[in-house]
Symmetry: C2
Subunit: 733 residues, 2 copies
């Protein structure tokens, strides 16, 4: 069956990622395209060094971070590169290296049992999970394609019969719980099976990759290691994976960290399909969602190119990763040559060695680069774009990320209406990210740590409201994954008044939350002021905790607090067991202030406070015997016995300090008073007064977000009229 | 009296820092020396902006960080620059600006009382302490010199009579407790009085500056705010300040942070003396100690140019500071044009606008720059170089700083035989530095915080031995300032085996400490291994604590420990009251291991441990209600009921992690076993075994450090013979 379909589809190779024609073009330009030549040189040195070391395909035994895992991972990355070098340099030593290693794998794989480590819901053979086996095949398919024509037919038959086809079957039909899902794991599996199918001309594998396994026999309630459901309404295969997790704006529901990870198989398989099956028009699929997703991903990085750590995400991952080099190159080549992408490639300072990398390098050589100025952006979530979304408000190097998405599959965290704030690429109010040290074997085999569940996923770990010390949706995936927040409105038409507003009605049954965040530019302030307006309406009395996870050194507060001599935990569950209480305060004034220093810049949080509110300084680290968590600080506003209430705060970035000149500039908050001057079910209004007595007034329509709706409101005997969901005026008193 | 001496010394101006001839040379080169021209442009923009803002000389009221303090500070910096611009650009607007501001100061100063803030032992008038008033005069003397000839005689007389002479008298004869000391404060005072004396041609002031006030009437036991003695055996004046705190190697006993601060008045007054009183040969004084001190200072900075935070020192201060721009320029111009200094100037990317800055800019223009490769160095302490010292061992971007100095005057900390370790410019085992936020008003007026005394100065805050929970010298300045450690030997002749060894016999009466630290390079290790060998001999049984203040995230330990549910303080005094106990462990094996991740690199501390030793994980922050301290971690080895004992550890820098590629490389320690194979009063011997079983043997002669001394020793029936204080062999077992 395999060989019959092979005969039908026989084509010249390479034809998967590299093509005969592409290779000719690359060879014609060699030595004349600086960035391509430099990238080629680095890869050649890397591969030559590996060839000199000799081939090692050890019997699998380790988790990630361990030797056998890292060796096999390195092998597939090098194999892919060696294949490309053979095509571009036409030096047989690379083909020999690829062939010899493939035959070692063929010998190893024939009788290889499932991997000895038992933790995965879908154990692999070379690696502890099918996911990594799929990584291997995605890369190795490319290597095989590069030496396909150079191998004898007999050699090909031996490899395909003993290695590639059984390998593809193992990660698909033998592991449907891994292969037949809507999940980044399956995307890798689909791409792996599809790519080797394209090289082998195996139509059965290609169909399986595109549309999934028909009868997988899976239980509808089955879950994976991360607690995510296996089944998604019977959807499976590459096209379903393209359909489901991407919104029409290109936002990937798991968040940018996993989008980055998934982008590689999405795009590289798409290129293969584009080359071998152009009739699928894969890059045009769903209004070009694949190309849009690269744009979305770049927009979800901060000033330095680091991705915002939404949901499970390791901090520090950025558009400098190898996956993004590929993504940017492919998006440029197949997506209309957006010259702004070239500026990202220039920062990455390397290209991939194929048609798209050559395109990019040529674009740069021809000085086509334009700067990629990231603007404020709203990205919808959900397959149809109707499951909330993400907004990034940007101005003057401030970046405010506001989350009102769907759950984000098994890697989602339970926080709705949370935010994080960056200034010049540094997080000032942080999202913790995940509790995991990816690939560091010493830390739980490089896998998710217990504290990812007990802390990082819990709502208290995020800058959003916690009711009665429980997480949103009670921290239950079954509930959380059924709901999403709703965008109320997003308006950045005036860059001096950028506003986003969203509602969440399901996180706590009986309680409705409505949060509005704005970046307001005033002449008297160096940087825009963040306004945070959170309304809560509840059917019962509750305790509300609003944490601000500030990073840096406390400079000053304007309230008294007691400091315990011994530190105890704030609570017993839902993340509270990880927080020590470092201070407990009572407000003396109508506004509390906290100033802190971060990255040699000053920040001040000013909050409208109620008489009985408690201010809690907390420190992460309780019940963390293995030092898996960072010892980060937070300030928590606690309001007890409240039904309906409103939390209003501003955050200022002001001034700077230099430990070299020892100059301290503008180290004090510029806000004299923050006041709620009106609050009803229809409208909420807030004044911001600076030290010179000038005032800004912000009015929000709580019920009607329509742009053309006319409003009138009387506050303190003064009449205000406006159109649209909010009204902002700057005035002198 | 003033005006009589004035008539005698009358000279053309400028003649202090700028000279008539120098200005002509600068003007001839304008527009042709890139670095000079760029520096000029920046300063011109800065001064023009200030001129546009207008002059403000507010009535003094604030501490540092407050408006009046920062305004007057800015004024003197700008005045000096405006004076220089007038000379170089010959644009009268700068002279007008200087004159107008000087007359505002003249009007303000006439009836100005002492500064309202009362904290200082020597209150100033413009500022809260005479120190800052002296800063003002050092800079303003230069501005006055620049417009001296441009002013009318009447204007000069008015300024000198009402402002400069009273100002100079106030900070000297009226504040002898400030002026007549050996201390960086007095150096500023001396330079201030001397420089205005040189400009005014006032020989009385010049003599006072050079030799101090004869009869100061000060109490021999008087102390300043920092707890330092006022009197130093009757020594005073600029020359005594040059004599006393500098060792013959140019090490300044307070440490590099304060050396940097003091260098400016030392050097700038020296240039003035060089120009006006060349017969003093000030730059040749004490075997050219001023020029040597610049070299010492550069050598006391890490890979990134940040000074090692010895004694009171704010982290982050570096050779990029304005004081070091001046120092490097002057050292180049007056010190034989060392081309390596040009590489520092290139990094600083600016020069001062005078003869020396021009020299440097010309040197760079003419491509004379050579790289400044910092090597291992030993710098003696004490006026005669016989009061211990400092060693920096350097290899492969590792920098080990070992302290065995004298106390370092009032800014000294009580730790002897302490060390800190840097790797690629980051501290891996830290010295806390000082508990102060210089010039940040919110934090205790920018002054020293209580925690500087209760934590930062205490011995437990440093990586050295603490006996019975008390600091060295019982934390008493009167005792500590009478003693110093002794260098035992320093040998870096073999760059693969760099060793320094020192003894301390006075920190704890009845207890002798001998610590030897080495950087050992092995073929099988990526970076040199730090060997730390600390022998203690005591007359009574004691409790010993050896802390390792590691920075970063714990990766792995090889011992069990219990984690308390509530955190309590480790002790009640001497710094112990600031440490929480996060874990309490008992060793299971002969070696304990702690691995941690810092700046994406892995480190492992391996220690030879005794059966009853305790391992304590501590966290800074107890009894710190104002969040003045960082929440840093430490590991403490506690050994109870011991007389004579030896602590042996190694520290490895190994491998790396990338959050972008997520590759974890070489994350495990390479050391299999560390063993004390011999320990007697004469010799201590240690073996280091790596995972492949290869062994290094290090033998130390405990009693005789002579280079040509021959030794023989039998260990495990094997005979060793060598010459010199240590023996190191690499061998296979």
């Amino acid at each position: 069956m395999v060989f019959s379909s092979y005969m039908v589809l026989a084509q010249e190779h390479p034809n998967l990622i590299l093509t005969k024609r592409g290779v000719e073009k690359i060879r014609a330009e060699l030595g004349k395209v600086p960035l391509f030549d430099a990238s080629l040189k680095i890869i050649q040195e890397e591969v030559d060094a590996e060839i000199a070391l000799g081939i090692d395909t050890p019997v699998p035994k380790d988790y990630s971070g361990g030797y056998t895992h890292e060796r096999h991972k390195r092998n597939f990355l090098i194999l892919q590169k060696a294949g490309v070098l053979f095509q571009i340099l036409q030096d047989e030593k690379y083909a020999v290296y690829v062939r010899d290693m493939l035959f070692q794998y063929e010998a190893l794989y024939k009788d290889l049992p499932v991997h000895p480590k038992e933790r995965s819901y879908a154990r692999g053979k070379l690696f502890w999970q099918c996911l990594n086996d799929s990584n291997w095949l995605v890369y190795v398919s490319q290597a095989y394609d590069c030496i396909y024509d150079w191998l004898s037919k007999k050699e090909r038959q031996q490899l395909e019969k003993n290695l590639f086809r059984p390998f593809a079957d193992f990660i698909s039909t033998e592991n449907p719980q891994f292969f037949n899902r809507v999940h980044n794991h399956s995307t890798w599996g689909n791409a792996a099976v599809g790519m080797i199918g394209l090289v082998m001309g195996d139509e059965e594998l290609i169909q399986r990759a595109l549309y999934g396994i028909e009868d997988d026999g899976l239980d509808a309630d089955a879950k994976d290691n991360d607690g995510g459901f296996i089944k998604t309404q019977g959807k499976a295969g590459f096209l379903a994976n393209l359909e489901e997790p991407f919104s029409p704006d290109g936002y990937y529901t798991e968040g940018p960290y996993y989008q980055r990870y998934a982008m590689y198989p999405f795009l590289i398989f798409a290129v293969g399909l584009h080359n071998v099956k152009p009739e699928l028009k894969i890059f045009q699929h769903k209004d070009s969602v694949l190309l849009k997703s690269v744009n979305a991903l770049i927009n979800l990085s901060n000033e330095d190119g680091d991705f915002f750590p939404l949901n499970d995400a390791q901090k520090g991952m950025s558009y400098y990763s190898r996956e993004l080099v590929t993504a940017v190159n492919i998006a440029y080549h197949y997506g209309g040559s957006d010259p702004r992408l070239l500026s990202i490639s220039e920062k990455q300072d390397r290209v991939i060695l194929d048609d798209s990398g050559l395109s990019v390098a040529l674009g740069i050589r021809e000085d086509k680069t334009e700067s990629f100025k990231k603007q404020s952006i709203h990205l919808s979530d959900g397959p149809d774009g109707k499951q909330g979304g993400i907004t990034v408000l940007r101005e003057d190097k401030l970046e405010l990320v506001f989350k009102y998405t769907a759950h984000g599959l098994s890697h989602g965290h339970y926080d709705k209406l949370s935010f994080m704030l960056y200034d010049e690429g540094m997080d000032v109010l942080q999202d913790y990210g995940m509790a995991r040290f990816v690939n560091i074997e010493q830390k739980g085999g490089g896998n998710y740590l217990r504290e990812n569940t007990t802390w990082a996923k819990q709502t208290i770990a995020h800058n959003t409201l916690v009711q009665n010390e429980t997480s949103h949706f009670n921290g239950e995936y079954e509930i959380g994954s059924q709901h999403h927040s709703e965008l109320y409105f997003y308006d950045v038409s005036d860059k001096n008044v950028q506003v986003v507003s969203a509602k969440e009605n399901n996180a706590y049954p009986g309680t409705k939350m409505h949060r509005t965040m704005a970046l307001l530019s005033f002449e008297d302030f160096e940087k825009p002021v963040v306004l945070d307006l959170l309304r809560v309406s509840a059917q019962t009395e509750n305790q509300y905790d609003l944490p601000f996870h500030f990073l840096g050194q406390v400079m000053k507060v304007n309230f008294d607090y007691s400091s315990p001599s011994d530190l105890g935990a704030l609570g017993t569950d839902n993340g509270y067991q990880h927080l020590y209480i470092e201070g407990k305060g009572k407000p003396k004034t109508k506004n509390t202030k906290l100033s802190w220093l971060r990255n040699n810049k000053f920040y001040t949080l000013t909050s409208v406070i109620h008489k009985n509110d408690e201010m809690l300084f907390t420190r992460l680290g309780a019940n963390d015997p293995e030092f898996n968590l960072r010892r980060d600080a937070s300030l928590l506003i606690r309001r007890k016995n409240s039904k309906n209430t409103v939390f209003v705060s501003t955050i200022e970035s002001h001034g700077s300090y230099s430990p070299v000149s020892e100059f301290s500039v503008d180290s004090n908050s510029g806000i004299a008073e923050l006041q709620v001057v009106h609050d009803s079910s229809d409208y909420t209004a807030v004044t911001i007064e600076n030290v010179e007595g000038k005032v800004g007034l912000f009015i929000l329509s709580n019920k009607n977000p329509l742009k053309d709706k006319k409003h009138t409101l009387t506050i303190n005997n003064k009449n205000y009229q406006w159109t649209g969901p909010y009204h902002f005026i700057k005035t002198k008193q």
